[in-house]
């Protein structure tokens, strides 16, 4: 990553994204999701997708929104991202539909579908004039395309099979760090998994291939043949 890209995006959460940067990143994600045709995204899928995007960002040498996640029974959920999402809804850039209050074993919760408002699409396209976000857009588009065929099983598979989320011995309420205070190349096991697909193969996989392979890998974990 270039120095200017680091300044523009903030390098990892260590240097903390400003609100505007996080919202620009989110709008870039919605722009990518719109391009690939996966909108609207339900709240749970959206947070799971953002989590996987954070985990695999080193594969494209770019910054994710956060390098940690709090393990919980509802799966990955980022409160700060939700604040930003709500603000984007209020500003008329993201459209929310099917809002509902729900209740499960963990208590009262909510659900909603999110898509991109035409105004949000315009802003998202403007964000792409910043070269660093163009790279983020490429990454999130590819990840969205990898997610699309497996959207139905994605949430369950991330919780059960993601190499960071399913570390043996980790329990709900534990903070999982895959790059905030640790070296991603050593402790981001999802990223490390993407680097192992090439092992003993005559031709290397491209970084694009690695994203698709990782999502398909999630479906194969714990399955033989």
């Amino acid at each position: 990553m270039t120095a200017s890209a680091e300044v523009t995006l903030g390098f990892r959460a260590r240097t903390a994204f400003a609100n505007e940067q996080r919202q620009a990143w989110l709008l870039t994600l919605f722009g990518a999701a719109d391009r690939v045709g996966i909108l609207p995204l339900g709240l749970t899928r959206l947070h799971h997708l953002i989590y996987i995007a954070n985990c695999l960002a080193p594969a494209y040498d770019i910054a994710g929104l956060d390098q940690t996640v709090l393990k919980g029974r509802r799966g990955p959920f980022y409160p700060q991202v939700q604040w930003d999402l709500d603000e984007l809804v209020v500003r008329g850039l993201v459209e929310m539909s099917r809002f509902e209050i729900t209740e499960d074993a963990a208590g009262v919760w909510f659900n909603a579908d999110y898509s991109l408002d035409p105004r949000g699409l315009r802003v998202s396209n403007q964000v792409l004039h910043i070269p660093a976000y163009l790279e983020v857009f490429d990454y999130l588009s590819e990840l969205s395309a990898a997610f699309e065929p497996y959207a139905d099983r994605f949430v369950e598979r991330v919780r059960a099979a993601d190499a960071n989320y399913s570390i043996p011995g980790t329990v709900d309420g534990m903070l999982l760090d895959f790059g905030e205070w640790v070296e991603p190349s050593e402790r981001n096991f999802a990223y490390r998994t993407t680097l192992s697909f090439d092992y003993q193969r005559p031709q290397p996989f491209s970084r694009r291939d690695r994203l698709h392979l990782y999502i398909r890998y999630l479906l194969r974990v714990g399955r033989r043949g």
Partner: protein, 389 residues
Amino acid sequence: MVSSPIDPALVGGGSDAAAIELTAEAEASSLPSVPATSEIAPLDPALDLLVRWFRANADALSPLTLVFPRAPRAVLEHLQGVRHRAFKPDAHHLLRAGRVFVCSRSLGEAVENDADFSSASDVFTGLEALGLAQEPTIIVIPAQGSAYWYPSGMSTPDEHRTLPLSVAGTAVVSESVIDSFLDLHYNQHLKTPMAGTKVWEDASLYVPVLQAEKAVQYDLWIAAKTAFAASHRVRLEDPTPAGRTDVLITNRPDVSEARGAALLELKVLRSMHHHVDPRRAKAFPESENRAGIEKGLSQAHSYGNEQGCDLTFLCLFDMRKDNSDEIVAPFRPNALSLGVLLRRYFLFASSDAARASDTARVLSEPGAAESTPGRGKSGRGKRRSGKKG
């Protein structure tokens, strides 16, 4: 960041070494060949499906139509018809001539409309009624051996691209196979402004379209995909540490008879810059064309090495005013040293110019006057095409 492969057994965390190995083995042949951001991305899975369908249904009388709505979730949810899941290439037997299938981008989901359409105009009327006439569409006309891709829907017919489905496939990629493929593609799609690929903004003024190289690249990828996809993976803009390859043809590990891997690096030479008002277009310096060839040679060499290709081609699509090989000559020794096969294809600005050039070449061949049609044909070979090898 780590760059070398990690032993799956040493990844750690919650990883599953067996699943890693199985995924790499089982999925390598079905990975997308085109970046998700590309406008032709929906063609990637669709072409695999349609080539297989066409081989079994070449004599079908009615068209087959696939529609890719830009917001598929919203459309598929409300559409009436037969629902298909995991609509993959090996599910081609589910496709039926006369039917319209509305699909998600990856073909993971599709709805088959239960009406039958006997012609392309019927399909257009049907799509209009369904509110889908402006959605990206592929329509296969079996009798023509082709499919047609409408990226802005059938309501914008001028933007279509032809997808040749009847190209004979081959499992072996060699220099002569690639040369024949490139010659055929050049003659059918690039040689003249009427040939198919839209590369000219105004051919009479030698002004190219905005992204002429991309237009050439997309159509070449489509042709290569239909010709080699049965045995090879044909990738577009594959990112490598050194940059992005243009078109990469590598043998599929699951096809035992597949042989050979080729990299096609593409450059467009031109006399004029693009301008929306062609009369105001500025001249393109010849020095930039030369710089482009030099860069192309270096890219082709490094990408080809990185991907372990047996063959590396640098294809120059020449849109300049003069059909002269002089610009290429100084680079031939370096190309030879680097193992890069340098090819130049001249894009004539008019059909008349192409015909005049062909005639002049035939007449200038030694013994042209005495040659029989048969001998003349074999002797003309590549020179007829306007290609300078």
